[in-house]
């Protein structure tokens, strides 16, 4: 086996074999295929967990370098590493169900996450402020759709005029569903085509080395 085969072709063989296996297991009633596909799905979970380690180690390495080289905000990198290793020490010694671990998670991650999620309300307002500049017919239609539903969703709207409720529901159920169904079917065809191209190695997904399969 040449290096070229091992480095460039073998990954694609793995991709295609397991991909086709996963695909066939849903359609063809042969127990062996079902079993193999099931096994490969449990493998994916384990490899995924190793990918988590890879990602986390990359974060750690990045910040060790930053802390060591005393780049700007290096003390923050040191703090990040401190937090990271404390989580690991507590998580592995006392367990993830332990009070200490839960406290660390609950005192840091949960409220910060809630804060991040809270910003969505703010971002939405600024997006609305910038987005609905009516310049073209497309943006006018964009605004029109927005207006009909926004008025309906405010429970004040239907009180002012019950018609808002009726129109809002009609618009969401008929023209919107029609459009979305068309897009969904298009997406399905696109996905299936892309997936099949990927399995047949017609599509570049970044596993290739040296000469590119497509242009770019």
């Amino acid at each position: 086996m040449s290096t070229r085969f091992i480095r460039r072709d073998l990954p694609y063989v793995i991709l295609a074999v397991f991909g086709i296996l996963a695909l066939l297991s849903y359609y063809i009633a042969i127990p062996a295929i079902e079993t193999m596909a099931g096994t490969s799905r449990t493998w994916v979970v384990v490899v995924g967990a190793f990918a988590v380690l890879l990602g986390a180690f990359n974060v750690v390495r990045t910040h060790i370098v930053r802390a060591y080289q005393k780049k700007k905000d290096y003390w923050l990198s040191a703090w990040l590493l401190f937090i990271y290793f404390s989580m690991i020490v507590v998580g592995l010694s006392a367990g993830t169900g332990s009070g200490q671990y839960k406290w660390m998670y609950g005192a840091m991650y949960t409220p910060l996450a809630q804060g991040v999620v809270g910003t969505l309300g703010l971002f939405l307002v600024s997006a609305a402020y910038r987005a609905f500049k009516i310049r073209t017919i497309e943006s006018l239609v964009f605004f029109l759709g927005f207006f009909l539903i926004a008025v309906r969703q405010a429970s004040i709207g239907p009180l002012l005029w019950p018609g808002f409720e009726t129109i809002g529901n009609w618009v969401t159920l008929w023209p919107s569903t029609g459009t979305m169904r068309a897009v969904t079917i298009g997406l399905a065809i696109g996905t299936v085509a892309l997936a099949l191209r990927t399995l047949a190695r017609y599509e570049r997904i970044g596993l290739e080395e040296g000469a590119m399969v497509g242009g770019g």
Binding site: G48, A51, R61, A195, I205, G215
Partner: protein, 261 residues
């Protein structure tokens, strides 16, 4: 038939048919060596423009596949589309020596995107475009967003590619990119989040356009053939709908029943 699962036979045959369309037109186009007509897709034409802008400004570009990136059945489609797109974008960036940043919160997608960017940059010997610390893994969605807050304010990328299975993060990532004055291309599968990308991005890929990226951008006969095959699949869908509807109105459920076999 015992060999096939009941109720999935038509489905399987359709997959084979779609695959046959792809292979047939790809082979035909490769043999003829000509690129047929392809409709202008402004979102995909913008890729070159965005990378060009980054080159001029001497700033990086940022890739983000969204908070739901991953290879589970619900999201693998747009994730693979993102992978294909990012692979093209980063090789274009590599050829212009533009650094590539990426923020990902799913481990497997992180590994795949990291590999795609690394391969793209190494194959044109452009080490400045790939640095392992620039492709960051954030473990969870909220952490990803704080990371993107930071990346956007501190690195101020000139281009932002928001392609993949976006969720509630679409409005945050789109607005942060806009605050950083990045030129943005957005595309995602779910309409809910596409509307946020439509509001925040300069260019938008609607629905299937996202999945055509690899084939369209490559500008080679193979890609054109693939798109041709995809078009024929849509014609099949249209036929099912139109013939089925006419028959249904006449009181005949033939097409409906065929699809359920």
């Amino acid at each position: 038939m015992i060999l096939f699962f009941q109720g999935r036979i038509t489905e399987f045959l359709l997959i084979l048919l779609f695959f046959a369309f792809q292979v047939f037109f790809i082979l035909q186009a490769t043999k003829k060596k000509e690129i047929g007509y392809i409709r202008h897709i402004s979102g995909l034409d913008a890729i070159g423009e965005i990378v060009g802008r980054a080159t001029e400004m001497g700033k990086p570009i940022h890739l983000s596949p969204g908070v739901y990136a991953g290879f589970g059945p619900g999201y693998a489609g747009p994730t693979v589309a993102a992978l294909s797109m990012f692979s093209h974008v980063s090789s274009l960036a590599a050829s212009k020596k533009v650094p590539v940043l990426a923020s990902v919160n799913d481990a497997a997608s992180y590994a795949a995107i990291d590999e795609a960017v690394r391969v793209a940059c190494e194959s044109v010997h452009s080490p400045e475009c790939y640095k392992s610390e620039n492709i960051q893994y954030y473990a969870y969605g909220e952490a990803l967003l704080t990371g993107v807050f930071g990346t956007m304010t501190r690195m101020k990328p000139a281009g932002n590619f928001l392609i993949g299975p976006f969720g509630w993060d679409a409005v945050v990532q789109g607005e942060l990119g806009a605050y950083a004055n990045a030129m943005q291309l957005g595309g995602t599968d779910a309409f809910a989040n596409l509307s946020m990308l439509a509001a925040t991005c300069d260019f938008l890929l609607i629905g299937e356009e996202m999945f055509a990226a690899g084939a369209y951008v490559s500008k080679d006969p193979k890609g054109a053939g693939a798109l041709r095959g995809q078009d024929l699949s849509k014609v099949v869908a249209l036929l099912f709908i139109i013939v089925g509807a006419v028959l249904w109105l006449a009181g005949n459920k033939l097409v409906f029943n065929i699809l359920g076999v």
